[in-house]
Symmetry: C2
Subunit: 244 residues, 2 copies
DNA sequence: AAGATATATGAACAATGATTCAGCTTCGGA
DNA sequence: TCCGAAGCTGAATCATTGTTCATATATCTT
């Protein structure tokens, strides 16, 4: 495993032809798959290249480092999560705190459930990687969106809004992570959703300065890519692109 | 970094002389120090041995693997935490839920605060290590103690006790971890303690079937070993032992 | 169709790190 | 004081992995 890499985390060269774009996508996806199937300790450049159906040299044409590769994958993943949370917050704006509580829990569960394994694996990898600013940025987006959401609550106001948001997010995301790390029993998920909703609401009510009230909403998400296919990833991505 | 190591995580040989015991302690402590000062990626057997003031060969006399070494360190750390939580639970038995809520938060903060950096570093290292059963065992101890505590609450009963405990623990430990991972601002700690207490109480009250009430208690812990001394660790531990 | 540019290849190189072992030192007891 | 056992040493071995580069192939442009 390599050490932290301060500078030059950006791609060495940006793909100009469609072929190259497919290659880059394949490499990114391959990284995740190798991470999941082999573990952080066996995540080697050669293995990633092999899984992607590409040679090592190719990989180094787009990523100056192994670290840069990991950084790219991590960033992509975190961005997805942040977007999901921001979207949920936008949707819930102006609702009552009971609704908001339930909605936030759902949004978080969804965001983390989709590819939770990836979250975990990436988190482990980010150890010796210069991710401080990246994480900070993502956290700010999430914290900001949630703060705005709570400020818009129809039936409550909060004293120390920033601290409340912080605690709420830490507890929720932390709880979810803890649960998933212990090999989430699928039955637990249902319980967890209810319990966290209860906790979230109870906390918000406890720290709020209340007023009148309206009602609730819902939604659901599910995406997954099979990684057991033996077809090389470049082939797959190339095919996909051909369809356009 | 090495791969997962199914069997033979146990010491290759147990120290028979005091000298050897000091050596083993030094190695364990050195592992933690190297982990903290150099990061997981630079945690090599040679470096650990050097920091311990011992040769690599010596290390392999007591640990069959690098993995075994990490396992030993992790186990030692987790045991300490479990003990602290169990003690706190015993102390709080029979109190009112408001007291219990506050007490639990404190116990957790203390347990995790002492050497939180170690917690984090070890967690990262445990990636490619067969720690499933170890973690399971620790979790069971903590969960068990907390469940018993809640069952003993003077002023409340719970329906789905196991689930309540689970959620509570997940949220608290998760929140604390999340906070510390983001470079805990010391001022945040005070806020966090209050907010988590509020959350904990609010949640317990929300899911409880209540009755009459009493009041609260406190405590505090703080331990740290300076790691900046250049004195070799074996020397240090040997000295300590000489005092008996 | 041909040159120019972009992409891809993979053996070779250099660095690092886990692990061993044959010989040395220290300890404890008789 | 002396000997066997326990403990310690560290250069040598063996395996792995990150990274480069000279060469080959594909694609685009005109």
């Amino acid at each position: 495993m390599t050490v932290a890499s301060p500078q030059n985390l950006k791609p060495r060269k940006t793909p100009r032809q469609a072929r190259a774009e497919a290659t880059v996508d394949a490499i990114l996806e391959a990284t995740i798959q190798v991470l999941l199937s082999e573990g952080a300790g066996r995540l080697t450049t050669t293995r990633v290249a092999a899984r992607a159906g590409v040679s090592v040299g190719t990989m180094y044409q787009y990523f100056p480092h192994k670290a840069a590769l990991l950084y790219a994958v991590l960033k992509q993943h975190l961005d997805t999560i942040a977007e999901a949370v921001e979207a949920a917050c936008a949707r819930l704006r102006g609702e009552a705190i009971a609704t908001i509580g339930e909605g936030l829990v759902l949004a978080y569960l969804d965001a983390k459930t989709v590819r939770i394994d990836v979250s975990r694996a990436l988190y482990l990898v980010s150890a010796d990687l210069d991710t401080a600013e990246l994480l900070e940025g993502i956290w700010k987006r999430i914290h900001g969106a949630t703060t705005a959401l709570l400020a818009s609550a129809a039936d409550a106001e909060f004293d120390d809004l920033s601290v409340v948001t912080f605690t709420l997010l830490a507890a929720m995301s932390g709880a979810i992570r803890t649960v998933f790390e212990r090999g989430a029993a699928p039955s637990m998920l249902q319980d967890l959703r209810m319990q966290l909703t209860t906790m979230c609401r109870a906390y918000l009510e406890a720290v709020a300065i209340t007023r009148p009230t309206p009602l609730a909403k819902h939604r659901k998400v599910a995406v997954l890519m099979d990684q057991r296919s033996s077809q090389s990833l470049v082939e797959k991505f190339t095919e996909v692109r051909r369809q356009f």
